[in-house]
Symmetry: C2
DNA sequence: CTGAAAGCGCTTACAG
DNA sequence: CTGAAAGCGCTTACAG
């Protein structure tokens, strides 16, 4: 910048002002400065800019991905949604992976603060998030995909897990299925899974059916455990259909059914929460509940940006926004 | 930092030195400083640190993902591999998505430079990368997953597309398939696809077979186009097997075969380059060529870090390293 | 209409 | 063994 100023015979202030358009500069001087910039190959230094303005135009993105998950594609979709709106507004995205562990999450958040990010979008892992307000005292943040435990009203955008499940299970019941098993995560462990279970139960209730406890099967988020739990459900109960709360478990169930020679949908009908491409090309194709991951990311980012704008004006009156995104039932061939 | 210094009754230099362990400080003073840090809740400002040291401990990650691709999971795996080694060494990762467009790639790289990143890992889109050396004059960078076009010897780590394809196709031939079709990207468009085609051809050659031109079918990277190209191959040629250069096309082919009532492997044998979870649970499960995406990311990051170290010592003598990662044939049920 | 100067929060020779 | 001061590259009151 100094060399630009020298070459253009102006002060650095003026150079700064023509770059930022932050006060009037005569056309003639502007041109001189621009030429000097070209001639010297000037590249603005965002770091210095940030130090001075105390805004980094960077937001932290805290995501939970294990090394071998295939639900990564879903989270990636969210990330893309977020990035698409952020980039457009001149923000950069700093990635931080928590591996879905609360302790790492805390650590990564701390690190991001150190990096002076302007705001943060968090896909929280499970566990008590009571530490958040203290840690992020004067930072703006929103949650996405999952609602954090142990916190009062927050800003978030998540899929309507309850509604999506309620709707799908209701329809299965209306097709005549009165004995539907559910594979869900450990109860009390994952809020989304719990919500899907709640939707499942509600559907039963509304149709005056009773949920038999042996229909509810807690399961790890692995193909293997789902394989085993599917086997157990099939061998020890009289279910005619099964509702599965996520993709990984869905793969395990499908794998088991295939290996056991159990036909879909003739022997067992199937619904999987989460819509991945494979469910469409599988034989038979599988009915799923689709979440709008990209859109979720988009809205999360918009929400954060709004908060950032808002902060500049008046701190106090912001009212947390809890956004529930509708899901879509992708009807395919796995229902009798 | 000033308040810490004040509270501990030392100079800011001393605070800085105890934080960084960069010169001797007596235990007693150290303790005073640490207490003061706790008391004031001091958080180091990485931005100021970066401005001063001219190192941001940030590396840029340039990745090509379209909005709706499902190959994202593969790239995500690479990203995770990269991030895992980088984070461990104190680096942060700044994401930049090019959407696989060369013009956006150039733009994003420029933006990252502005952000003063220390180095860059690039998954290049196709097209002439001649602009790179000029743009990244005194930055360190490596390529991953794809070799950039139009550049001399570079640092990169990619899968051995040629070898993996050669091996798989050879084995199909040895099983008696002499009429194998291939679905590949537009020739000259994607280097990886071209390499896979080259492996395919080489296998034919080595077995003294001639590749009939109608066996080679260029195809867009979409389920739909693959569907149509599969149909064409099946209806207009006498192939008994098909080799598909990527996952998306693989899905399209499988979809077509299913809808056309063509049985795998009885009517047609199948090999897909890229190993996704669905290929294992599909009926029949599908033989694939697996790339070690996470490992590729890891090695890419290691390579970049080495270059960064090296730079500190002597600039001149670095010899570009071209790393080819072996692939693995995942033998399953789709071969007769 | 433009410039000189202070300052953002650090690090690092230099001095003692 | 520790401190005072310059400087990284910007922005922004303040002055004229």
């Amino acid at each position: 910048m100094k060399d630009v100023a020298a070459k253009a015979n102006v002060s650095v202030s003026t150079v700064s002002h023509v770059i930022n358009g932050t006060r009037f500069v005569s056309e003639e001087v502007k041109n001189r400065v621009r030429e000097a910039m070209d001639a010297t190959g000037y590249i603005p230094n965002v770091v210095a800019h940030s130090l001075r303005t105390k805004r980094t135009n960077t937001i932290g993105l805290v995501i939970p991905i294990g090394n071998d998950e295939n639900s990564n594609i879903f989270i990636m979709q969210i990330v893309l949604g977020i990035d698409s709106v952020l980039r457009e507004r001149g923000y950069c995205t700093l990635l931080a992976n928590t591996k879905d562990e609360l302790s790492r999450e805390k650590e990564e958040i701390r690190h991001l603060i150190t990096r002076q990010i302007d705001g943060m979008i968090i896909i929280p892992s499970s566990g008590d998030h009571g530490f958040i307000p203290g840690l992020l005292k004067d930072k703006q943040y929103v949650f996405v995909d999952r609602i954090p435990d142990g916190l009062p009203k927050q800003d978030y955008v998540v899929s309507d897990s309850f509604g999506g499940s309620y709707d799908a299970v209701s329809r299965m019941i209306e097709r005549g299925h009165t004995k539907i098993g559910i594979l869900c995560a450990e109860i009390g462990g994952y809020r989304n899974s719990d919500e899907r279970l709640r939707g499942f139960r509600k559907a039963y209730e509304e149709h005056n059916l009773e949920v038999r406890t042996e229909y509810i099967c807690e399961c790890d988020a692995s193909i293997q455990d789902a394989w085993e739990k599917a086997k157990r459900l099939v061998e020890h109960t009289d279910i005619t259909a099964v509702f599965i709360v996520n993709n990984v478990m869905g793969m395990g169930v499908v794998k088991y059914l295939k290996e056991a020679g159990i036909r879909i949908p003739d022997d067992i009908s199937l619904t999987i929460f989460d819509d991945y491409a494979w469910t469409d090309i599988y034989t038979p194709s599988i009915t799923t509940i689709r979440q709008e991951a990209f859109e979720m990311g988009r809205q999360g980012a918009e929400l954060l940006l709004e908060k950032l704008m808002f902060k500049d004006q008046d701190e106090i009156t912001w009212k947390p926004r809890e956004i529930l995104l509708p899901t879509r039932l992708m009807m395919r061939e796995s229902w009798k």
